[in-house]
Amino acid sequence: MLKTEELQVNIGPQHPSTHGVFRMLVTVDGETLVDLKPVFGYLHRNHEQLGEVNSYLQNMPFTDRLDYFNSMVNNHAYARAVEQLAGIEVPERAQYIRVIMDELSRILNHASALGFLLGDMGAWQTSLLWGLREREKILDLFEYVSGARMMCNYSRFGGVARDIDDYFISEVKKLMQGLPRYFDEFERLLVENEILLVRAKGVGVLPKELALSYSVTGPLLRGSGVPYDVRKAEPYAVYDRFDFDIPVGTVGDVYDRFLVRVEEMRQSYRILEQALQQMPEAEGGHINPKVKQQSLKPPVGESYARVESPKGELGFYLVSDGSGSAYRYKVRAPSFINLSALADMCKGYKIADVVVILGSIDIVMGEVDR
């Protein structure tokens, strides 16, 4: 009898396509994957304990460092949790500003995530750089309004740090004239590329039922065909005022996730259009002036607030003991929980598919390791 020997390979922690310091202990039989164990913790900094030591306001810039692609969304989610805990009203205008920032974040995240996914597939960074170009423009806007490109630290309890001005709005409108061209170019470049089709179709299938039992969220869940989106399921901020669709896949493979992300960018664009249109009528300023930001002491209790981050459901679970800092601060990080489905999605495929499947989950190690 011919016998093949299994080979154990460590993909990571220093590896070009593990999206950070992430390690996959992979057992392969030839090129076929037999077993996969994700190993992480290399970036662990005990973020949750920092949250118990910091005051509520002091913790805001630390949330930037979770999913450093979408610090605006992280800020939003954390601010929501604290507002819920302390019963703070948020003015309408601030809600609109937050929605605009969230949707811009979603576009920039998907643009770069798709680029990275195709980079993992071996397309030589062309799509990535096109995505990064759009991301740069959005980051410039973030810098204009918040002062920093990636670590925005923009939300405050009851609003946002600074109001947006006409220049910002006109620049967003200008950006939005270019975005459809980018979407079209991107689709023309690769969506029907034969090599992409054979690499992505039928790879890393995660059926609907399994996806639900794995608690995965975001494009991963929607790619599997579950129309679940926190923006629709629990319309926070002012998301109930916008008309947008949830893109879903049918099979749940890498190609579906890819297409869902492309379509989500277009839906974000729709939300942006409507938000910009409705915003001038919004009441209130950019922040609730009554909130004592620095010495906030929410009443004893607990709260859980979640938003639809580009990676999935991002939630903050806070327990207050009435003091100036949280008693318990827990982050429900979408990348972290989405990773639990990785091993199952990869088994039986080739080594080359593993990096593609990992890329299609779209993880950020800052959030996974916390």
């Binding site: 396509s17 397309a123 030589w124 062309t126 690769l190 992409l196 054979v198 690499r199 080739k350 080359a352």
Partner: protein
């Protein structure tokens, strides 16, 4: 046809001197060509990605490869602790040696370093040595990624040698010679436009050869042996400094050689309008210009493909070679035979002469008939192969897919 100039002092001394000059020219020209190619590729791909590319060292960044050469040469030479030191050291030497040997017969325009009568055979015989170097590097590094990369490389090279060589057969049939010199000269008809690519069989051969050459030169979408997103750098993982530079040099020189070969075999080498009319010296220079334009355009196509498409998976790569390229190439050999029969056979097939007239280079009827017949055969072949290979997901039931019966 022009040979390199010979100083007729004494036959023997002349031979030695000429050989030394040729070897120097090949080595210098090959290395400079490789340096230029790296710059060219990086600038081109940068423009595709809305960037500028290297533009700091020297005019337009042309000296960037020089600075990088200096950097790699001054780096520490590292051999992994448990590596097979001899094999690890020899692998880049074998790789580069194979490439440089191939340059011995590759024409530069209408100028040939040496006119070997079995030039085509020689080139592919020596470049086949690449496989050995790759396996040596993969095995000698004592690294799992390197081993995977080496194995992938060997499998890929061996599979793609077959369509590569079979794609050449039509050219050899058309020209009736294995000598590159002859093949290039034969394409000088039709005012310098008698290139083999302008016939259905030549075009099919060119396309298949180009695809197989991408695989031979480890270009995207077939850069699987050194797929950086999967197995770090494949068989190059444990190489650094000068040894890595030698691998790199060999890789780009192989690509250069492949572009030169394609330009010579299919695109008429240095042939073009005006080459024969301008005489030996001026015509030779013009042929060099034509030749480089063709070769660099081919390389640009390679870069364009690299900038666009993702990489195939290793099993898909094999499937593509065996299920798609090979049948088409085989059919193409058959239709080449028909082409040659229709255009050349006079007395051997009296019936052709009765129908189409005597075979001659200005008998357009014969060429027209040959074009139509071979085009139909080739298109039918492509259609049939695609039809057979096309996956029909709707034909399979869910259970079949789940049980892995879809194959």
């Amino acid at each position: 046809m022009t040979y390199w100039p010979v100083i007729a002092v004494d036959a023997w001394i002349g031979l030695v001197l000429v050989s030394i000059i040729k070897v120097t020219l090949i080595l210098v020209g090959g290395s400079l060509g490789m340096m230029f190619l790296t710059w060219y590729e990086r600038r081109a791909i940068a423009y595709m990605q809305d960037r500028r590319g290297p533009n700091r060292v020297g005019p337009q960044g042309l000296l960037q490869p020089v600075s990088e050469a200096i950097k790699t040469m001054t780096k520490e030479d590292i051999t992994p602790l448990d590596a097979d030191r001899v094999v690890h050291f020899l692998a880049p030497v074998v790789m580069l040696g194979a490439t440089v040997l191939a340059f011995a017969v590759i024409p530069w325009g209408n100028l040939f370093p040496s006119s070997l009568r079995v030039g085509v055979l020689f080139i592919f015989a020596v470049t086949g040595l690449h496989t050995v170097g790759m396996l040596m590097a993969g095995w000698g590094s004592n690294n799992k990624f390197a081993l995977l990369g080496g194995m992938r490389g060997v499998a890929q090279m061996v599979s793609y040698e077959i369509p590569l060589l079979m794609a050449l057969l039509p050219i050899i049939l058309l020209s009736g010679s294995l000598s590159l010199t002859d093949i290039v000269t034969r394409q000088g008809d039709w005012y310098g436009f008698g290139w083999y690519v302008f016939s259905p069989v030549g075009l099919t051969a060119f396309i298949t050869f180009f695809i197989a050459a991408l695989a031979e030169g480890e270009r995207t979408p077939f850069d699987i042996p050194e797929a950086d997103s999967e197995i770090v750098a494949g068989y190059l993982t444990e190489y650094g400094g000068m040894k890595f530079a030698v691998f790199y040099l060999s890789n780009y020189m192989t690509n250069l050689a492949l572009c030169f070969i394609m330009a010579s075999l299919f695109l008429g080498g240095g042939n073009g309008p005006g080459v024969t009319a301008l005489g030996t010296v001026l015509g030779g220079l013009l042929s060099l210009v034509y030749f480089f334009i063709k070769a660099l355009a081919l390389f640009f196509l390679m870069v364009l493909i690299r900038g666009t498409v993702p990489r195939l998976r290793v099993d898909q790569l094999m499937g593509f070679a065996w299920k798609f390229l090979l049948p088409i190439v085989l059919v193409n050999v058959f239709s080449t035979a028909i082409w040659v029969a229709i255009t050349r056979w006079g007395p051997q097939a009296q019936i052709f002469t009765d129908w189409f007239g005597e075979p001659a280079s200005d008998n357009y009827l014969r060429y027209g008939v040959a074009i139509v017949v071979t085009l139909i055969i080739n298109l039918l072949a492509v259609y049939a192969v695609m039809r057979i290979n096309r996956r029909q997901p709707s034909d399979l039931t869910e259970e079949e897919i789940a049980l892995g019966l879809a194959g």
